[in-house]
């Protein structure tokens, strides 16, 4: 047993392991770049860099894929390489390095690298991304998720305050039932679709389309069909569910909710015990204790061209809690950092009257800055040392 640990220590502290780990990192990053063509950035990130083992499959579009399609290449993923790197770093330093002046650089480089890896893990776990579409002259106090959806039940009985219950989509499963002590009803997910096609039912047609008895879909004769999830960066999944509302053991009917049903469709409303509820599937929302009011969006072009010179949003931030207000211009490379969130100019629409701000929360955002400064200093010191030694030798 002691021998085993000694051998393990020898392996973990070896430079050979470092070289192998670097080699596997290169492979992982390469295939993790290549597969972005198929899965988009976010899904690839999940499959490669946030996985213990990643698999690359020969793409269907490449020549000879009929034969080579079965070629599946497994490789260590980010969550395997990261800890091994950390172990290797720690053991190697413990085993080889003595506190000497000429080693300071090496220690700094590797210490910074360790910090960088930890920071990346923290970002992976804690970073949240949202988007915020605002029309000129209007305001919002929430941002919406890019990918995540939620089923929202809004109690609108009180004219002053809406009460919102929401179920995030990672809890949504076919057959799941949701209850809340303050809700006089329960929600049963009859069917959940990550991606779906919603279409008009033809008269007298008995297709495999799922139908509902209440709400918009039943009135407009819409049915739903399952579709494979998409990863394309310019497409979104049509996340959809057939929801049954149960009240004291009896069913009030089934509703179709989908994230493509927008404000243009009538709200799906029903009453239980004198409470008026709105039911919907929407992009997961993050409410802020402040609101952002878009005063003006500008889109400048170079004279005589369509080449964009600058996009900017002039916003007014109004914090209900602190009473603080301020006007800020958000433009390219100049985000607004406010309340733990960062607001970036990301997109625009409606003939330059709507602006999209990307909203990011990353509590670890400073770590890479610090670790990179440490590593750069280490590199500078170490290679400077080599250079001085070299110059000295040349002089002789």
């Amino acid at each position: 047993m002691k021998l085993f640990f000694r051998q393990l220590y020898a392996v973990l502290s070896s430079l050979r392991l470092t070289v192998y780990l670097l080699g596997f990192s290169l492979i992982l990053v390469f295939f993790g770049t290549l597969d972005q063509v198929h899965f988009g950035i976010y899904e690839t990130q999940r499959r490669y860099f946030q996985a213990v083992i990643a698999f690359w499959q020969y793409p269907l579009e490449w020549p000879g894929s009929q034969v080579l399609r079965w070629l599946v290449l497994p490789m260590p993923g980010g969550y395997l390489l990261g800890p091994l790197f950390m172990a290797n770093l720690a053991c190697a330093h413990f085993r080889y390095f003595r506190p000497r002046l000429r080693n300071i650089g090496i220690v700094l480089i590797h210490g910074g690298l360790g910090l960088l890896l930890v920071g990346q893990l923290l970002t992976d776990l804690a970073q949240e991304d949202f988007q915020m579409w605002i029309d000129e002259g209007s305001q919002k106090n929430y941002a919406e998720s890019f990918f995540n959806n939620e089923i929202a039940l809004v109690d609108q009985s009180d004219p002053d305050v809406d009460r919102v219950w929401s179920i995030p989509d990672d809890l949504l499963k076919t057959g799941a039932i949701f209850q809340h002590p303050e809700l006089p009803l329960s929600i049963r997910i009859q069917r959940f679709y990550v991606n779906a096609r919603i279409m008009q039912l033809q008269p007298n047609q008995s297709t495999g389309l799922m139908q509902t008895s209440q709400g918009v879909a039943s009135r407009m004769r819409l049915g739903v069909l399952e579709a494979p999830p998409t990863y394309a960066h310019n497409q979104r999944n049509v996340t959809t569910a057939v929801v049954e509302i149960l009240h004291r053991g009896s069913s009030l009917g089934t509703w179709l909710v989908s994230n493509v049903f927008d404000e243009n469709l009538p709200a799906q409303r029903f009453e239980v015990d004198g409470h008026r509820f709105d039911l919907s599937m929407r992009f997961e929302r993050r409410y802020f204790p402040f609101s952002v009011h878009l005063i003006e969006f500008s889109h400048d072009r170079y004279p005589g061209t369509e080449i964009p010179k600058n996009f900017s949003s002039l916003v007014h931030v109004d914090n209900h809690e602190t009473g603080e207000t301020r006007d800020t211009l958000i433009y390219m490379n100049h985000p607004l950092r406010y309340g733990g969130y960062t607001f970036y100019q990301a997109s625009f629409a409606n003939e330059d009257t709507s602006s999209m701000l990307q909203v990011v929360r990353n509590p670890g955002w400073l770590i890479p800055y610090i670790s990179c400064v440490i590593m750069s200093l280490g590199l500078l010191y170490q290679f400077g040392w080599t250079l001085v030694k070299f110059a000295g030798r040349m002089r002789k």
């Binding site: 063509v37 690839t44 072009r301 490379n333």
Partner: protein, 610 residues
């Protein structure tokens, strides 16, 4: 005799330089040079009309010259003059390069050897072309080579037609001036009618006549057309032909410069050299007095750079340097090696001059797009190579400088064909601070990695093919490569980090695993691997050199491969020229690695061991 060799080499280098400074051969009596210098506002920036001519021809036929109907090469500006002043006569100049069978078939040509076609030959088939173009899928990856060329030809035709009406309107009367006279007369008549009765009948002949003029003139050019008429002190006050004629309605007269160009066109059409040259001089004074926010010194500098083509000179000198090093090595001529070093320096100076001129004209750091990155990466590698040569004086630094300098400039030359190389920066890139820090450091990282990679190739070439690789050379090569790799690791790492910080500033995340970021990371990982393998004694000299050569592959992937991901790799049959060359380059590197790694050292001609 042997003493003369270095002097001959130096003399040829100087001759290359002098040849470039000589003025262009100008056979026409019209003052082409003065025409070339005319300032215009196009693509969002001021430039001489000569630049418009050159970039247009690069788009049309991949060269900066035009062809006359008899097939002779003529300067770009001479063609531009014809196209903009007398479009009817320019139509027979074969300036459109067409390769693909499908496109040739469309034009109905039977001659398989004909590569260049004139506007007159293509335009009868324009409608059919347009119909076909509308059926081509939008997404690039779904288009085949023939469709891509059709699309390109169609876009080029639009550019051609737009350019033809840069300075003058199509003729209904027998001269442009008569045309404008009639237009002004019609305006006056119409004003009279409207003045008498504000509710004038729109069918009134005077009004109908004006509106017919206005319809024609307003349709002449879209917003992208070349602007040449300044109205106030700002760049946004410049007008194109159509706008200047619309402006005449408010002004009550046609702007001076528009009239000048009418006179110029008429003189050109009539072959009246005297009037033509005199009018050009008038126009020049007009621009000088009007100002209009025109940066004359930049426009002039661009004209000079267009004429001198510093990167072309540098390329020729790099070729010459490479030959010089080879001769010096073969004849063991140490003196020649010293002279060659001066030629490298000369080439480097010319290269630097071109780089600085571009920076001055653009008012930007040196790297703003793929084209300028090629020029800068080459420049960085040559700079490092020159330093190496200064230290070791064994010709290795000169040889590698010449090879990388030449290769990167060839790459740049090919990238030029996609249009204006000094185009305006898109919004997110419009930040001189980040361009100057992140982009420069990352490019220097590329430079150093290539330099190390090519030194490693030299190691194998010298070892396998010659007897020059002795113990000392081998050791100095290892030291060079190791030092350069350290340099490269530092710049690649710092560059990648700065990129992360820029990304954090503009998108809110430090690292997003985006292809370009991954590419930069791969260089850092690879160099770290090579240095660790060397330090840990896991590889010996040949293995170390082999790993370093693979750095060329990683860097090329990072530099170009990642840019092709979006358009190409996922589409079956994708084989654009750039992709082909990238694959070929990478394959050649792997081939060298295999040769170097597999050929036992006893079979090498040099007997140095690693």
């Amino acid at each position: 005799m042997k003493k003369a060799v270095p002097i001959i080499f130096a003399a040829v280098a100087v001759a290359i330089l002098l040849l470039a400074v000589l003025p262009d051969r100008n056979e026409s009596d019209f003052d082409v040079d003065r025409f070339a210098a005319l300032p215009v506002l196009e693509g969002g920036r001021f430039k001489p009309i000569d630049s418009v001519a050159r970039t247009t021809l690069l788009l049309f036929r991949g060269k900066q010259t035009a062809l006359s109907p008899s097939g002779d090469r003529i300067p770009a500006t001479e063609w531009m003059m014809r196209l903009t002043l007398q479009p009817e006569s320019a139509a027979s100049y074969p300036v459109f390069l067409i390769h693909h069978e499908d496109v040739k078939e469309l034009i109905g040509t039977s001659n398989a050897n004909q590569k260049h076609y004139s506007y007159a030959e293509i335009v009868p088939h324009a409608r059919k072309l347009q119909e076909l173009v509308q059926t081509i899928p939008q997404e690039q990856s779904l288009q085949n080579a023939g469709q891509r060329e059709m699309l390109k030809l169609f876009n080029n035709l639009i550019i051609y037609q737009r350019l033809a009406f840069t300075y003058r309107v199509p003729l209904l009367k027998d001269s442009v001036q008569a045309e404008y006279g009639a237009f002004m007369q019609a305006l006056k008549d119409a004003a009279k009618v409207v003045g008498e009765d504000s509710k004038a009948d729109p069918d009134e002949p005077a009004l109908a006549k004006v509106s017919s003029y206005l319809r024609t003139y307003s349709s002449l050019s879209d917003t992208r057309a070349v602007k040449f008429v300044p109205t106030d002190g700002t760049a946004s006050g410049w007008l194109n032909l159509s706008e200047s004629l619309m402006h005449a309605m408010q002004l009550g007269r046609i702007p001076e410069l528009t009239l000048d160009f009418a006179k110029l066109s008429d003189a050109y059409a009539a072959g009246n050299v005297e009037v033509f040259n005199a009018t050009l001089q008038e126009i020049e004074t007009h621009y000088a007095s009007l100002g209009g926010g025109l940066p004359s010194d930049k426009v002039h500098a661009e004209l000079v750079v267009n004429h001198l083509q510093p990167f072309g000179i540098a390329m020729a000198l790099y070729v010459w340097v490479f030959i010089g090093v080879l001769v010096a090595w073969l004849t063991l001529d140490e003196r020649l090696l010293k002279w060659v070093f001066w030629i490298v320096l000369l080439a480097f100076l010319v290269h630097t001059g071109g780089l600085l001129a571009r920076m001055m004209i653009q008012g930007r750091p040196p790297v703003t797009n793929l084209y300028s990155s090629a020029i800068f990466v080459g420049w960085g590698a040559v700079a490092l190579g020159v330093i190496l040569e200064r230290i070791y004086r064994n010709g290795l630094g000169s040889a590698v400088s010449a090879i990388i300098g030449l290769m990167t400039l060839i790459v740049a030359n090919h990238l030029m064909a996609s249009g204006d190389t000094m185009e305006m920066m898109r919004a997110v890139l419009d930040s001189n601070f980040w361009l100057a820090t992140h982009v420069i450091t990352i490019s220097l990282g590329y430079s150093a990695t290539y330099l190390a990679g090519f030194l490693a190739i030299l190691y194998f070439v010298l070892g396998i093919c010659t007897t020059r690789l002795d113990e000392a050379t081998s050791r100095s090569l290892v030291r060079m490569v190791y030092g350069i790799l350290c340099f490269s690791l530092f710049f690649s790492f710092v560059g990648t980090v700065l990129g992360g910080i820029w990304a954090d500033q503009s998108w809110g995340r430090f690292w997003g695993w985006d292809p370009k970021e991954n590419g930069a990371l791969m260089i850092v990982i690879w160099i770290a691997l090579v240095l660790h393998a060397k330090r840990g004694g896991i590889v010996r000299t040949p293995g170390f050199m082999n790993l370093t050569i693979f750095g060329n592959v990683v860097t090329s992937w990072s530099w170009f491969g990642t840019n092709m991901l979006g358009v190409g790799l996922h589409s079956y049959g994708f084989m654009s020229a750039a992709f082909f060359w990238l694959v070929l380059f990478c394959a050649s590197q792997v081939a060298i690695m295999l040769l170097g790694g597999l050929l036992p050292m006893r079979r090498w001609r040099s007997k140095a061991s690693g």
